[in-house]
Symmetry: C2
Subunit: 333 residues, 2 copies
């Protein structure tokens, strides 16, 4: 290894606690074994982590981009790849159709069905709006779209409906109730569409979504401080390793900032310290006692997905020891 110890790493560096990752994968597999889980790779964007999920028996994966699907197929993880997103780009659809992999694409309109059929995509799911104002057709349109897809020669495997408006609710009862309401909508759509697959869910609803045949959880593998508030059985596995570069009487500054962190869920957390704010290459914080210049600190990201997407690689730690380096090879588009 180029770097043997955590303290050897040039900073800022994305680090991964492999013990925590392993515990997270184990905890999830116990509740959702095999095909009950379709891990979402958008959370980690790393085929090496996906391979660990596959080893645990999850052979189907969820992707958010064409690049993720292509990268997973090329990494021999193409048993059953779902692009859980709408796409109309003919070049990318052609590329997906020509992969040596099973590829299913979400569709929610005549346009997306036509684009998939024209490219020779074999299988689709009808994507349903279950309350999150994003993609997905209205329930009333689902049956007609499924008919149209079948007329165009597409195999309709079933429905998809992401309850993204409730997965982040901190209160478990509200989350469960919101999930149940969303899944009632999805069940009505499924009745009109048919097929074996009801794909839904996320880390926040992994154990309360009782309708879905498969759960699309991703964040559980690496976690973030937003999901940590829910008291889930998953541990924080990623962090940003940083070096203190300046200390005043009131505050300290480390060398990890906005370009290392997804900021849409707010500031990162530094255990034992109070984060003041982040700028491009700095995070300012107060602590008691104050650290010294050259000390290391770890920042816990508020949102894992856009954090992973900033980094070329993640350093795997066992305790303080660097045991591996993984390329974040599914980033970009």
């Amino acid at each position: 290894m180029e770097f043997e110890n955590r303290n050897d790493l040039p900073t800022p560096a994305l680090v991964l606690d492999v013990e925590a990752l392993d515990a997270n994968l184990a905890a999830m597999s116990e509740v959702l074994p095999g095909d009950r889980l379709r891990p979402h790779v958008k959370a980690h964007k790393c085929t090496r982590i996906a391979a660990l999920q596959a080893v645990r028996g999850h052979r189907g994966f969820t992707c958010a981009t064409a690049r993720e699907v292509i990268g997973m197929a090329k990494a021999s993880l193409g048993d059953d790849l779902l692009l859980a997103n709408e796409i109309v780009d003919p070049r990318r659809l052609d590329a997906l159709a020509s992969l040596d992999a099973r590829v299913t694409v979400a569709v929610d309109s005549v346009e997306t069905i036509e684009a998939a059929a024209t490219a020779g995509i074999a299988e689709v799911l009808i994507d349903i709006d279950v309350g999150l104002p994003r993609c997905g057709c209205a329930v009333a349109e689902a049956g007609a779209l499924a008919d149209r897809a079948r007329q165009r020669g597409l195999s309709v495997r079933g429905v998809m409906g992401y309850e993204g408006h409730v997965v982040g609710l901190e209160d478990r009862v509200k989350r469960s109730e919101g999930c149940a309401t969303a899944m009632q909508i999805l069940a009505r759509a499924h009745a009109d569409v048919g097929g074996d697959v009801i794909s839904a869910g996320g880390t926040g609803t992994f154990d309360c979504n009782s309708l879905a045949t498969e759960i699309q959880a991703g964040s559980y593998a690496v976690m973030d401080t937003a999901y940590a508030k829910q008291g889930l059985p998953f541990r924080q596995a990623i962090a940003i390793e940083a070096t203190v570069i300046s200390v005043s009487k009131r505050h300290a500054v480390c060398d990890a900032g906005l370009k290392t962190l997804g900021m849409d869920h707010g500031d990162p957390r530094i255990p034992g310290a109070t984060v003041w704010y982040c700028s491009d290459e700095h995070t300012c914080f107060a602590a008691d006692p104050m650290p010294k210049v050259g000390n290391r600190v770890r920042l816990l990201p508020a949102h894992c997905d856009p954090t992973m997407a900033y980094h070329e690689r993640v350093f795997c730690l066992e305790g303080e020891r660097v045991v591996d380096v993984l390329e974040i090879d599914l980033r970009g588009w």
Copy 2:
């Protein structure tokens, strides 16, 4: 060119209006010619854009990371590179000291002076806290640190003090007054430190900072919606090109989200539309009339620096025509 027209680009794509970029560079050079401007490369992280700034007579550059300094030196843009940031990593300092380039490093403590001297860095600036709670020593410490640096064999070129707490103020009068107050602090430090260089400023204070011998502006080249509120003579040059992938009665969804955008300054703007929210790979918005699936939209980022850092490359547009592709080659660390 692989892509001839804007509409050929796979989305999401970072695009750059070269006419707007050129106008921005010209407008800045008129007010701050030659060495009066030390462009900050952290805003664009692209040596090809830096080369355009050099052609306009700005031969000194500001960098925020060691990688930026090294990348600029290797691109033959190393006439006078300032790492306007504290650094204690001995490997990186060694790498900086061995570059075939003039490299000056900011120091604000005994530790950063020792690290620079040990590595054989030749020149430093004393970094002063002028009111932004980030790096920089107190004015009272500046003279002693300069003495210490000189005793350690370092050439002290002068002082640096970034008024980052005022550059973003929308009201020009408040911005000017805040800048003047900050620069009074920097002037006191300079009196104790000596040297030819007083380096400060940013895009928001480029024409009201009357103390600094050189202004470290970066955002002016590509701009963002945060700086656009100040009514500066710079145009929005970058955008995220996106494709509409789903449309409902109430809203539309395009394929550019959190992983394409620095979000710390808030949501992007879509001209003629109301942005609802961004998620990992989507932005949801309402418009009247509503777009159709397959239509293109452009998102204007709220903060240029962390936006550029997400992208491998930027497509240069002249009107609708793709005329060049630039690698964002200074990203990472």
